[in-house]
């Protein structure tokens, strides 16, 4: 069934192969981080997006170089998909001077403003108005870029979400609101916290299109996001996309996951895994056979091992940097 499904015209076969590699990079990055937290090798906290690779890679995959994103606390995938260097990301989690934020941000604040990643965010819904502001710059300066704004199902209950969608709609701004509905806001099941079936239906209140998609199907993510990005770029205004997905891991590092069953987790892992599904698509379409897929997977695994070495060999920030960069 996945055979021969069309993808946006800008997406070449080489890009599809890149996406496959990126999905494994995201997965191995977060599995490695999970392992290190479990072993106590890195401190603080982190939020892993294992199982949500198709949303990050697919949505960022249709962006142009100068387009921008705002990300969330569960943002490692967005970062990688927007072109971040996994060495510097890992170094940041290790708190090293070579990290994206010189060791001052950590997992929740990785940003790469030059590459158009306006930053992860520790506040649920905190990035949504910032995306609107970045889109306002694009409009006022006629820069032609689009802002892709990631947030979760939990954030759709924040005031910032509603205020921002309204503002973006009345000002007709080039922003795509991309909700990764992974079924739980920390422990709160979306079914208990949202009184409607689809968060995308909230778009109607703000006069913009709302699209519900299978967030574990990379091809669908590519197609629907591309359409929304094109709309935004053509001056037709914002879109709300809700991608239904699932996080395999707990909310953060200490989560007994009492709010859901192991059977439910197994169902998503076994039957809906985004990488498996995209791998099958690539095999069935003849783009990438099993052997080549395996090579890509191993290369991604190696890249993450190398990132760990890079991080471990990187210097700690000098103590006196504690007071640097508070003000410009």
């Amino acid at each position: 069934m996945t055979n021969k499904r069309p993808v946006p015209e800008i997406i070449t076969e080489q890009r599809l192969i890149d996406f496959y590699r990126q999905m494994w990079l995201v997965r191995y990055f977060d599995e490695k981080v999970d392992e290190f937290f479990a072993k106590g090798m890195i401190h603080g906290t982190t939020h892993l997006c294992v199982g949500e690779e198709a949303t990050a890679v697919g949505a960022c995959g249709v962006l142009e170089e100068h387009d921008k994103i705002t990300s969330t606390h569960r943002g490692h995938g967005h970062c990688i998909a927007k072109g971040a260097d996994v060495n510097r990301m890992m170094a940041e989690l290790f708190g090293r001077a070579t990290g994206y934020c010189k060791g001052k941000g950590g997992s929740m604040h990785i940003a790469d403003v030059e590459k158009g990643n306006l930053g992860a965010n520790g506040i649920v819904g905190g990035g949504i108005p910032i995306a609107v502001g970045a889109a306002l710059t694009a409009k006022m300066k006629k820069l032609g870029y689009v802002v892709l704004c990631f947030f979760g199902d939990g954030a759709s209950n924040e005031g910032s979400f509603h205020e921002s969608l309204n503002l973006a709609a009345i000002w007709n701004l080039p922003v795509v609101f991309f909700c990764e509905n992974n079924q739980y806001g920390m422990s709160g099941p979306v079914k208990e916290m949202v009184p409607i079936e689809n968060i995308a239906d909230r778009a109607a209140s703000y006069g913009m299109p709302g699209k519900v998609i299978d967030g574990n199907d990379l091809i669908e993510v590519l197609n629907v996001t591309y359409e929304a990005v094109q709309r935004a770029r053509n001056g037709e205004g914002p879109t709300l996309i809700e991608a239904k997905t699932y996080r395999y891991k707990g909310h953060s590092k200490s989560d007994a996951k009492k709010y859901r069953t192991r059977e439910e987790e197994m169902e998503w892992r076994t039957n809906r895994d985004p990488i498996d599904r995209f791998g099958r698509y690539l095999a069935e379409t003849g783009i990438l056979d099993a052997e080549k897929q395996e090579q890509i997977r191993m290369a991604a695994w190696q890249a993450i091992e190398d990132a760990v070495k890079y991080a471990e060999n990187s210097p700690m920030p000098a103590i006196e940097t504690v007071t640097e960069d508070v003000y410009a």
Binding site: K68, E114, G119, G126, I130, E163
Partner: protein, 327 residues
Amino acid sequence: MREISYLEAVREAMSQKMEESEDVFIMGEDIGLYGGAFGVTRGMIERFGPERVRNTPISECAIAGAAVGAALTGMRPILELQFSDFITIAMDQIVNQAAKIRYMYGGKAKVPMVVRTPAGSGTGAAAQHSQSLEAWMAHVPGLKVVQPSTAYDAKGLLIAAIEDDNPVIFYEHKLLYKTKGYVPEELYSIPLGKADIKREGTDVTVVATSIMVHKALEAARELEKEGINIEVIDPRTLVPLDEQTIIESVKKTGRLVVVHEAVKRCGFGGEIASMIAESDAFHYLDAPIQRLGGLPVPIPYNPQLEKKAVPQVEDIIVAVKKTLNRA
């Protein structure tokens, strides 16, 4: 010498910066045809158009965040927050986002935005429209906090705030909007972090902010009749704070009174008093420091009660005399 009002000075600063750079624009509730709740932006939409004088919905969180996002991507937004009390609704974007982005990102971003907002009591608007919450903002690393007391300062400091690459909270006092003063027509800036000695004196140093500068000057005129000569210092910016000017003054007078309209408890006056206590000016003190601020109550509606809730000229006179053992 041209005299204009504090309100006109604010408008002129914005207009001149908007003339100078396309990156500068203003957003806020009712700032278009209405001209803003206090009339500060009157005429600006006609002059600059609705793209650069952006009338917003009543969404303090989203408009504060939109200012952050615009600043992060190359604009220099000015956000008019209709009443400074409403900062509570914009708090996440100001405190968790604007103030922290540069540091969190390891210095690889900047957020050059100004939040202009009217503060203070005296208009009968009661508890939710009369507060002075500047100490909250001054507590947060990453923000700069400005409180002009005169038309001249308002223009020069606002120009400096717009030119600054950091988020600046610019507190205007509602009762000062109509006060007039000498304001040059050309564009000029007053550096943030430079206090102004509003009146030189020898006997007691009075550090006063915003509208209290005027009350302190009035107190000075009364005290002069009794042969007491006070020095009135206006820090003008709380962050950065010009500590040296205050320290030098206290060394000269040996006595310090600090006065602000904000609630005394945890108010910025405590910061100034402790700064002096920790400095070498401590050795020059001839009397305990006197600290004046608002009562620990919400601002009441009744005019007599409202007046009672914040320091008045008489309170400053008494505090000064206490430091001289003449109360």
